[in-house]
Amino acid sequence: MKTILLLEDLPEIRVWMRKLVLQVFPGAHLSESARVGDALKLVSAVKFDLALIDLGLPDGSGVDVVSKLREVQPDAQSVVVSIHDDDEHLFPALQAGAFGYILKEQARELITEQLQRISQGEPPLSPSIARRVMAYFSAKAKPQANTGHAMPNVNLTDRESEVLLRVAKGYTLPEIGVQLGLSRHTIADYVKQIYRKLNVSSRAEAALEAQRLGLFR
């Protein structure tokens, strides 16, 4: 039986989401919250398998909950469920440790399908996010060469880069699998690995930055 966190401030949508989640994961235990503060308390208290997190909330951003969850429950899967579809909102959430995102206004069937895919370990990745991730890693590769700090090596492998490049060009994951002669599960693993590296890298970056600012000794 799965424990699922549902963070959503709009009551009607929350009700609708609950129905949908219970349909995909029958018998799951749902903890609902409408505020970031409440969600953070829940995260410290309850162990979750899956968290569906809205970004724009009355008392803050869902990104904080994603970070916290990543920190205290690394095995929990965070999925951003948002009305925003732009990089500016999604990328920070992915960096914070989210494993994919779902756009709220999509048809019920589509969301259901995406949730199923996520639960099977196939996170969604759009071309624009793929481009953003590529740019992030290639920009990071340059200054790393001449900084003396012990930076964890979180560069992408050639295969991961290849997958990203093809996603950026608009190919679907099954298509990429066919092109590379790999199963769609392997491709999905690459995508998950990319998300993970994004999070590890950004956390290492944050730690390094904190060290530079003298926050840690």
Binding site: L10, E12, I13, W16, G56, I83, H84, D85, D86, K104, E105, Q106, A107, R108, L110, E113, S126, P127, S128, R131, V167, A168, K169, G170, Y171, T172, E175
Partner: protein
């Protein structure tokens, strides 16, 4: 302007050349012929009514310099000479008497008849010391055998005058044809009177001008001193203009000697200031000296004027020589040394000649020329100063123009920066406002539309709300978005279209070039996205096709999409319905807004072909 400088240089050279030519001309006096030079006479003191008695008079040789033959004598001497006119005169030719120098004034009687007078014979005497004299001897008064000339000369002793030139005396007498002597007279007059007068007048004018110039501008004080020097020097020759002065002889001499104190003052100050130095002690000492000089003259009295004056001459001369030497030493590394050096040297040579003339009482031609050197050199120096002044002003003008140009440039840059800054600020404010509006729209309108999407029982209403939400988001991004790389846009479109088709069970074939460098404005990106989305929706909803090919090419700067399905095609009545539902019509409208076009070809059973053309250039520009 280098032209002006060049022409001024040329002018300076021309003046120098003119001075040399004049000197050369004066040296080349024609030989004398048919003239009688009388170098002996009988002389005796006597007043106006006196006539020389051959028995009491003493023989003297001419020239008779009173300073040596009768020291201390002031008054009137009668000279008598007897001569026989040259016999070989051409018929009707006039005979004349030429006196090169007579000081201070004279009268001439021929055989007892007065034939000429130089002016006042009583004190103050008319001053004729610088003026050569020519007297026509009337033929009617001449005797064939021997004629007698009685010449009364009134003059002052050397002790009473400042310069030996002005002491009493009579030069040798020359009797000869009038026209020949007239030529000699004219040359002598030119040298001793006209040339000094002309140079003096020039000095007076130039000096006055430069004094005013220097006085107005205290930075250029050397100009004021030089102007005063020029004016002072010109005043020394005042007696050339005013032969009869309404002043006693002693007053006139006193003033002339006093003037030298003033001239020394301004000369030394000019050299110092021109050399760029200002000394407090000198500033005070020289005026005091200039005042002290007349005071000592008054104390010594008119009869000792010469003695006191000679002492002062020595002192003043030393001062000027020291100042000149200092100046040249200081200027030695500069260019002006090569102008001022020769000028001061020439001045020194002239001064030595004048000293010798004063010492011996002889006044040869060289002494007359030498006395002209100083004022001519002053004129040259004056022109040089004006040249420098002009050049300095030119430099100042150029600097000013340059400065103005700089100021204008700086102002323009500031203006530009300010404009950029305010543009940037406007951009920032606009961007912030856009983001605020976008956030508001998402929070409020977005939330409400979303609620409708997921709570409405009516499928049509929830679809409309979903589309409205998508429209809203595209609109917001159309406002906030930047230009999109065409390659990225194609990736986005492919991902959406192909995955939607696949989900609907339709095979999607996408054919498009990769890695395109062109850019698409946010507006064109949004509109094209909508058109493709609508086309995809139409295929999914209405075509019942199993295959859809999408081919994208770039031809002549146009982005061309051909979307073809193998479905039912659009029946005329369906097409009308689609148009009412803003399907095909809105696609066409959107293409039109991008200055492109959207053509739909379809027939029942033949599938549908949509040809979308978007001009890339204009689409990139419009934003």
């Amino acid at each position: 302007m280098p032209n002006a400088r060049r022409s001024l240089n040329a002018l300076l050279r021309f003046v120098c050349l003119l001075a040399l030519l004049g000197a050369a001309f004066l040296f080349c006096l024609p030989a004398q012929a048919q003239t009688l030079t009388i170098t002996a006479a009988l002389a005796a003191p006597g007043d106006e009514a006196f006539v020389v008695d051959a028995r009491t008079a003493a023989p003297v040789s001419l020239p008779d310099d009173w300073a040596t033959t009768r020291p201390g004598f002031t008054g009137s001497i009668w000279y008598r000479v007897t001569f026989t006119p040259p016999g070989n005169l051409a018929g009707g030719e006039l005979l004349a008497l030429y006196i090169e120098q007579v000081c201070s004034n004279y009268r001439v009687l021929l055989n007892g008849q007065e034939v000429a007078s130089g002016g006042r014979m009583a004190l103050p005497l008319t001053h004729n010391c610088n003026h050569p004299q020519i007297i026509t001897l009337p033929g009617a008064l001449l005797r064939a055998e021997a004629s007698t000339l009685d010449i009364q000369v009134a003059g002052h002793s050397l002790a009473e005058v400042g310069s030996r030139q002005r002491a009493g005396g009579l030069s040798a007498l020359v009797i000869g044809p009038q026209n020949e002597l007239a030529a000699r007279f004219a040359q002598r007059t030119a040298l001793q009177v006209t040339a000094p007068q002309a140079v003096g007048a020039t000095l007076l004018l130039m000096g006055g001008f430069m004094f005013v110039l220097g006085f107005m501008n205290r930075q250029e004080s050397h100009l004021a001193y030089f102007g005063a020097l020029s004016v002072g020097w010109a005043l020394l020759d005042l007696r050339l203009w005013l032969r009869t002065m309404p002043l006693s002889h002693s007053t006139a001499e006193f003033l002339l000697v006093s003037l030298l104190g003033f001239i020394t003052w301004v000369a030394v100050q000019f050299l110092l200031r021109y050399g760029g130095v200002r000394l407090r002690t000198v500033d005070r000492a020289l005026p005091v000296q200039a005042a002290l000089l007349p005071l000592t003259l008054i104390l010594a009295g008119p009869e000792n004027l010469r003695k006191v004056a000679v002492i002062w001459f020595g002192v003043l001369l030393i001062e000027v020589v020291v100042a000149s030497a200092w100046y040249l030493w200081r200027e030695r590394p500069r260019r002006s040394f090569w102008l001022m050096g020769p000028l001061l040297l020439a001045m020194a040579v002239a001064g030595v000649i004048e000293l010798v003339a004063q010492g011996t009482g002889q006044r040869p031609l060289a002494a007359h020329i030498a006395s002209l050197i100083a004022p001519v050199l002053f004129v040259i120096v004056g022109l040089r100063l004006v040249q420098q002044q002009g050049r300095a002003r030119q430099t100042v003008e150029q600097d000013k123009v340059l400065l103005e140009q700089r100021v204008a440039e700086a102002a323009a840059e500031i203006e530009k920066n300010y404009e950029q800054l305010s543009e940037l600020r406007v951009e920032q404010v606009t961007e912030r406002e856009r983001k605020r509006i976008a956030a508001d729209l998402h929070d409020d309108l977005g939330a409400k539309l979303l609620t409708i999407v997921h709570t409405s029982d009516n499928e049509r209403i929830s679809t409309l709300a979903r589309e409205a939400l998508e429209e809203m988001r595209l609109s917001v991004r159309g406002l906030t978005g930047k230009a999109v790389r065409l390659g990225d846009a194609l990736g986005d479109w492919r991902a959406e279209v192909v995955s939607r088709l696949n989900q609907a069970g339709i095979e999607g074939q996408w054919d498009a070039p990769e890695d395109l460098p062109q850019r698409l404005s946010a507006r064109a990106y949004v509109q094209t996205t909508r058109i493709l989305r609508e086309a995809t929706s139409n295929i999914i909803k209405h075509s019942q096709a199993s295959l859809c090919t999408m081919k994208c090419t770039i031809t002549d700067g146009d982005l061309l999409f051909v979307v073809q399905d193998n479905g039912n095609g659009i029946a005329p009545e369906t097409e009308a319905r689609l148009d009412r539902g803003h399907g095909l019509a809105s696609m066409k409208n959107r293409a039109k807004q991008l200055q492109g076009q959207c053509l739909v070809e379809s027939g029942p059973g033949y599938g549908t072909v949509i040809r979308l053309t978007v001009p890339l250039d204009r689409a990139t520009e419009a934003s």
